[in-house]
């Protein structure tokens, strides 16, 4: 679906149509501000641009649950949820944000239910809840049933319900349009709009907007092995970098321990909960060497690190589909689980293993390896969803930094970082983050729309503030249009390379260097490959068909460039943090260091795209990294042990 016509100016453009983008659209349209506008006879002009048809969004793959202290299954308290979230994030969590997350979680889940989500139910008709890793009662005590679920497909239910509600609300979509540029005005202090590529027509559009909200999801495709869909190419984050903005905490990427080898498809934690055991090449159940108490059910980051330690010690096994490849898997042994029981409680796991590995988990060991699952970091936002810059003045030192909001620019969901997940996200908190902070961002945006709507009946036509911003978008669109024409024009080089090959190579470089663990050496090797080989290749990519309509290679070229730019930021941020915390394990700095690094990394793109010789300045920080102190409100940092 494409818009019937494109407005000269939109009140708001939302980029992305997963849980965060759709929640933002609904949050905006149902807000008091929007209601007030409608009463005054003004219909806000909002467009949702999405590179996929919304129902294809990756939210639909979320399985387990959405966390909220509803207390339907047993007594629960939002303060316990708040504490668990802070602890799970290894104290790199902004506590004001985590407090909102926990406090408004029940309201968020109930609103989803009232919107139509088919949650599983208790016998008395309430939303059913199950246990999830890291969610406890009494501030770190016994596990508590906090994750509201809908069988094993809560993400699918939420995505479809939000889309249905958007259909009911008459939201306008531009589907299978790919945003290539986020445009700020000349000062960089205010949003001007976006440039978007209509993949159906193969045409570039300048989209002028007074407000833009980015909700493009994560960047799992930085890695070869990922549970993420093929579309999670970090687009929103790369757009922010290219617009001269910063990213926060992008060195933190969660790896789920049991991705099915070759595919990276998730095998649920339930496989181990039901008795599955991880084994190395010698057949040894190695988790007892790393976590004697919790063994195979230790926290996700702990299990992933243990698997990598076995692999690094030469006790891994090769992916059976690539027998001559690296020995970078271990076995998941489920043969000890009673066969009938396994079929009954792990149907999805059994089906996935049979279908995609062609083996029977009742008889065969299953090859698994950690799979890139979630990017904790992203575009820095306030708890109201506003994107900001972090600046440190020369004389004030690290504590003297301040946030400066980019007027009209918002972000939500996995591409953003309000910092509720800190250094490691708890299960059940990602859907919650996307829905809750998506809604909040939409509401904030609507209030800003109401101050100055495009169809203002009082507007006498003398307001010319839009003109400069419109010109900026038009310039960006023209230059993107020229680039498109050149990508499509016949190529004289031999043109053996293509973006799909480049993405595969990038994934392998990143996986070798920073998956689960890294060191200065591995990071510098990866930066070498990235800058010496992958970046130049990305620049010289060229399409192999000159037909613009549905030319997927064009989009893939821009995605590859986005991922390569983002990879550079991830590597530099990993390099800058000389400690191990949450999902980031530095082999050369194995301990957490609260003295120096109880702080968010704020990384920008290095000017000009030539990253070889960055000019460090005080103002921009060493290698483009500044540090922002963590907001500590209620829970001072402690050791993190389960």
């Amino acid at each position: 679906m494409s818009p019937k016509h494109i407005e000269d100016m939109y009140d708001a453009v939302i980029v992305g149509a997963g849980a965060a983008g759709l929640s933002a659209a609904l949050g905006a349209l149902r807000s008091e501000a929007a209601q007030g506008l409608r009463e005054a006879g003004v219909e806000p002009k909002i467009l949702v641009i999405s590179k996929l048809q919304p129902l294809r969004s990756h939210t639909g793959s979320a399985e387990g649950g959405i966390a909220a202290s509803l207390g339907n299954a047993e007594a629960d308290d939002w303060r316990w949820h708040y504490y668990d979230t802070v602890k799970g994030g290894d104290w790199l969590v902004d506590q004001d944000a985590a407090k909102l997350l926990a406090e408004y979680a029940p309201q968020t889940v109930i609103n989803l239910e009232r919107g139509g989500v088919a949650f599983s139910r208790t016998d008395d008709g309430h939303i059913a809840q199950r246990r999830f890793g890291g969610h406890t009662r009494d501030f770190g005590g016994e596990p508590v049933r906090r994750a509201a679920y809908a069988a094993d497909r809560v993400g699918h239910q939420i995505l479809h319900t939000l889309w249905q509600e958007c259909v009911g609300a008459g939201v306008e979509f531009a589907e299978e349009w790919y945003v290539t540029d986020l445009v700020l005005d000349g000062t960089g202090e205010r949003v001007a709009g976006v440039v978007a590529y209509d993949t159906h027509e193969g045409r570039i559009h300048a989209i002028h907007a007074r407000n833009v909200l980015l909700a493009t999801g994560g960047a799992g495709r930085l890695f070869h092995t990922t549970s993420n869909s093929w579309d999670l190419t970090g687009d929103g984050m790369a757009l922010a970098l290219a617009a001269g903005l910063q990213l926060e905490d992008v060195e933190f990427v969660q790896f789920h321990p049991t991705g099915l080898a070759h595919t990276g498809i998730l095998l649920s934690e339930a496989a181990r909960a039901e008795g599955g055991v991880l084994r190395n090449a010698d057949g040894r159940a190695f988790m007892e060497d790393y976590a004697p108490e919790h063994r195979d059910l230790a926290a996700r980051d702990v299990v992933s690190r243990s698997i990598m330690a076995e692999i690094d010690a030469g006790r891994g096994v090769a992916d059976p589909k690539d027998p001559d490849g690296p020995r970078d898997c271990v076995w998941l042994d489920m043969t000890g689980i009673d066969h009938d029981h396994m079929e009954a409680v792990l149907p999805q796991v059994v089906e996935t293993v049979r279908k995609y590995a062609n083996i029977d988990p009742a008889h065969d060991w299953v090859p698994v390896k950690p799979t890139a699952h979630y990017t904790m970091g992203g575009i820095p936002i306030t708890t109201d969803g506003e994107v900001y810059r972090w600046t440190v003045s020369d004389d004030a030192g690290a504590s003297g930094g301040r946030r400066t909001i980019v007027d009209g620019l918002f972000a939500a969901g996995e591409c953003s970082c309000v910092s509720v997940h800190g250094a490691n996200r708890l299960g059940g908190n990602s859907l919650l983050d996307a829905c809750l902070f998506g809604t909040r961002a939409g509401q904030t945006m609507a209030a800003r729309v109401a101050e100055h709507p495009v169809d203002d009946p009082m507007d006498d036509g003398t307001d010319t503030t839009d003109e400069e911003a419109m010109a900026a978008v038009d310039v960006a669109a023209r230059s993107r249009g020229d680039e498109l024409a050149s990508l499509l024009s016949p190529d004289d080089s031999d043109g053996n390379d293509n973006p799909y090959r480049l993405l595969a190579d990038l994934g392998r470089v990143m996986e070798r260097a920073v998956a689960v663990r890294c060191s200065a050496t591995t990071i510098s090797e990866a930066l070498g490959s990235l800058r010496g080989e992958l970046m130049p290749r990305a620049v010289s990519l060229h399409a192999h068909s000159d037909t613009a309509a549905f030319n997927q290679e064009i989009t893939a070229i821009w995605e590859a460039r986005h991922l390569v730019a983002l990879a550079d930021a991830v590597l530099r941020a990993s390099d800058a943090r000389h400690e191990s915390r949450g999902s980031l394990k530095r082999l050369d700095f194995p301990e957490r260091d609260d003295e120096r690094f109880l702080a968010h990394s704020m990384i920008r793109s290095l000017a000009g795209g030539t990253a070889d010789a960055p000019a460090d300045t005080e103002e921009q920080g060493e290698r483009g990294v500044l540090w922002q102190p963590v907001h500590i409100a209620d829970y001072p940092p402690q050791a993190r042990a389960y």
């Binding site: 996929l52 048809q53 793959s61 139509g116 088919a118 016998d123 009911g168 027509e201 062609n358 293509n498």
Partner: protein, 313 residues
């Protein structure tokens, strides 16, 4: 371990390709702006039965594969190593997003759940002409498919033929325009219309904020909520894909999902909306829609049930 040492073998993918003619060329062909736009007044209207304009050909790719590889794996390998211009939708790769429905050997199904072992066939030499009696062979410009491929295939697993999802206009290669399906789903108000009342205690205080629904009530519609709108049922339906006026099984499943939801209050309006010539009346109970549903919905049985509900009211 079984399955661990499957030797590489080969498969040949015969892909029905289509490149749309650039718009300026289409315009040059003219056509009266006053001409009646033909086709069904329902669904996709004119676009549904329009013959696409552009270049059509069949291209063969022979690949080294393992039997358990999915057809999507094969196509991604082609994109990466042979031909980056081949167009097909895909996203999650494990049967949840619903974007990669195509016709494999003529049967609508998902690329990411179809394995080579299950779908490769040794070609019957007598059945190589298409329905118009022509055999399109690869005008493969890149010289990718040469004649030896076919004979090689006989040593391997055989041939898999791929075409865009039937019943929808092709846009490019394996990409079909499924907007007609989504329009039909949207037309039937696919969102919960509840009473909005908060449950209260006897004293009138708000008691529970969510709508209460017990597991038995949930069971009446839960399976229907699993629909991923991939279009496989529509492409399988001889009425829908045959081009007759039919709102289609996917839209009826969406309507039925709300009809059977105890929280929804618009049941009568919903039943009325599908009691039309192109609604339940158009379903011929062929039940082809059930066969390949990737979410295991017995679509044909659900059609039967909703027809009964319409008649009973």
């Amino acid at each position: 371990m079984s399955g661990m040492d499957d030797a590489l073998t080969t498969v040949t993918l015969k892909v029905n390709r289509f490149t749309p003619r650039p718009e300026r060329d289409r315009g040059a062909r003219g056509g009266s702006p006053f001409a009646k736009k033909g086709g069904s007044p329902f669904g996709g209207g004119a676009s549904r039965n329009r013959r696409p304009r552009g270049k059509q050909w069949v291209q063969e790719y022979t690949l080294q594969v393992r039997p358990e590889d999915t057809v999507l794996d094969c196509l991604l390998t082609i994109k990466r190593t042979v031909d980056p211009t081949l167009a097909f939708r895909y996203s999650c790769g494990h049967g949840m997003c619903g974007s990669d429905a195509v016709a494999i050997n003529g049967t609508p199904t998902l690329l990411c759940t179809a394995t080579v072992a299950d779908w490769a066939e040794h070609p019957n030499p007598l059945a190589q002409a298409d329905e118009e009696g022509f055999r399109h062979t690869g005008s493969a410009e890149d010289g990718i498919a040469d004649d030896t491929d076919v004979s090689n295939a006989e040593d391997g697993l055989g041939v898999i033929e791929l075409a865009p999802l039937p019943g929808f206009p092709v846009q490019r290669d394996l990409i079909a325009d499924i907007d007609p399906m989504l329009d039909q789903i949207r037309k039937l108000k696919p969102y919960l219309q509840a009473d909005g009342v908060l449950a209260t205690t006897r004293e009138g205080k708000v008691d529970v904020f969510e709508y209460l629904q017990n597991p038995q009530q949930l069971a009446k519609y839960e399976t229907l909520t699993n629909c991923i709108a991939c279009g496989v049922c529509e492409g399988s339906c001889p009425v829908f894909a045959g081009g007759d006026a039919f709102i289609g099984p996917a839209a009826l499943i969406a309507a039925s999902r709300f009809v059977n939801d105890s929280r929804d209050t618009a049941t009568m309006a919903r039943l009325n909306a599908i009691d039309t010539a192109d609604g339940v009346a158009a379903c011929q109970s062929v039940r082809a829609c059930s066969r390949q549903c990737p979410r295991g919905i017995d679509v044909g049985e659900e059609m039967w049930q909703i027809v009964a509900r319409v008649k009973e009211r």
